[in-house]
């Protein structure tokens, strides 16, 4: 059987890995439009290097890493602005109305949005992507110890925001 044309292969890669990357970007940024832009940009960056990727299976890994890096970059640009707005934003839990699940979801969203970019990435990669400490370190390009300390600090902050006692 012959290989599919390059355009079809690109489309297949996008359809295969794009949805997961989009959900990751959305969890990292909390912004629907921004997550769509980030995924397109990340896909472009990784697909352009496709010819140099030794293993096609590594595409997902590179795409994930690129999404995280782009998200952190955008969040870092916005961080001072967010700090400025922090006092204006009431907790999502307090504002939540409706079913208990909805309240919980909004509370978690609000709590995660308060985390610094790297801690947020660590939390999403651990609890959504279900990666190990080593895999998270690889995705973020940082030591495993940094992942552990970031996770520890993030958990403490989340516990405080979500009203959970250790």
């Amino acid at each position: 059987m012959s290989d599919p044309p390059a355009g079809d292969k690109l489309e297949a890669l996008y359809l295969r890995h794009g949805p997961g990357a989009l959900r990751l970007a959305y969890l990292l940024t909390g912004d629907r439009e921004l997550s769509e832009d980030l995924v397109q940009e990340a896909f472009v960056r990784v697909a352009r290097r496709l010819t140099s990727l030794r293993n096609a299976d590594s595409f997902q890994w590179y795409l994930r890493r690129t999404v995280v890096n782009l998200s952190n970059s955008r969040l870092r640009r916005r961080r001072v602005e967010r700090a400025h707005l922090k006092r204006l934003v009431s907790s999502a839990a307090a504002a939540g109305v409706g079913t208990p699940d909805l309240v919980t979801k909004q509370a978690v969203r609000g709590a995660i949005e308060q985390l610094p970019a790297r801690q947020r990435a660590v939390v999403v990669l651990r609890y959504y992507e279900d990666l190990t400490d080593q895999q998270i370190a690889s995705a973020l390009g940082c030591p495993v110890g940094s992942v552990k300390s970031s996770l520890h600090r993030a958990a403490a902050i989340l516990r405080q925001h979500l009203g959970q006692e250790e």
Binding site: Y14, P19, R23, R79, V80, A83, I157, R159, L162
Partner: protein, 389 residues
Amino acid sequence: MAELDKLLTEALHNLAAEAPELPPLSPRARRRIRAGRAGAILASVVVAAGVSAGLVIGALALNRATRTQPPSSPRPHPAWTINTPGGVDALAVGRSMLYVAAGDFPDATLSAYNRTTGQLIHWIGVPAIPVALRVGPGGSVWLTFYPDQNGGGTGLWLLSPDLAQRSSLNPRAARSIGLSDLLPAGPADALVAANGLADLHMPAPGHHGQATFHQVSAMPADHGYGGAVKFARLAGRVAALQENKIQDLRIVLAGPHGPVFDPGVGVNINSMAGGGNGLWITTGPQPTGPSTGSVIRLNDRLQVVTPRSISKNPGLAFPAQVWTAGNTVVATTDTSSQPLVCFRFHSGAGPVTDIPARLPPGDVAVTGDTVYAADASGVIVYRLPAACR
């Protein structure tokens, strides 16, 4: 802990279900992928040709591959890099030091590195995230900081070049400056936005005493605008990038009845840098705006005077931020093939030249023939292309 794990796992999976549907891959994205691959294949062919021509030794092949780059594309400066995996918040260049602010509260730091060797000279903890990091006349270092999501304090420090000595503005006065920028004006003086444009005189680093404010001029404060996200010198005056309560941005000149540059509806001002008798700014689209962004030059009356070679340059089609040093203008872009570019401007603009950055830089400092770029991995040093000096 197990309860928190379960809560987060369930909530994140629920939230992920709210993500938008995958949009089709845009035609522009497809073009960029094709263009990038064509370049990669061409580079491979050139390297292979070099090898097959008898340049079997790896080092020679690498040398040949490097020579295939355009003459204006420099290699990264071989000197050194600083690894800060969490990224860098701000950079500033002094006479012999490079200052790097990094980390989140309570681990935020300000470090001084030898510019030539990259050796860490001294570092100090900072009780919040940095907002403004500037080097003033005489080499003194100005730092303002502000709480982040984790907490921290508001403050302003004037530090000695080696960061060993400092003087502090009292917290109440520092809060009046808040997130506004500062513009060093003397060894212990800086212009700040505090009830108009004020000259802040600080005790010398390591000395006690009261800081004093001296009103310099008024600052436009109409339509909810106030403070200064960024200051820049412009033909002997002070330009301020101002923000209102709904994050619209505009540029004004300090003083009464000065001109105003408003980028228009749906257009954001991403950055501003002084350049002699003009300002360089980058604009970008707001979510609903029509623009893809531009690099724009404003004259001393804040009128647009961008050379056509810049406004129509494809290498500057998606600009992010801009910096200046003398006649050199450096810009970051959201284009993956050219995330860092530069050009020279002296009565006219020189060619826009690629600086082969390893990652898109978040902050840049330029001095002499050197570009310091902070990206997600740390700081890397590039030699400024000759065409940009």
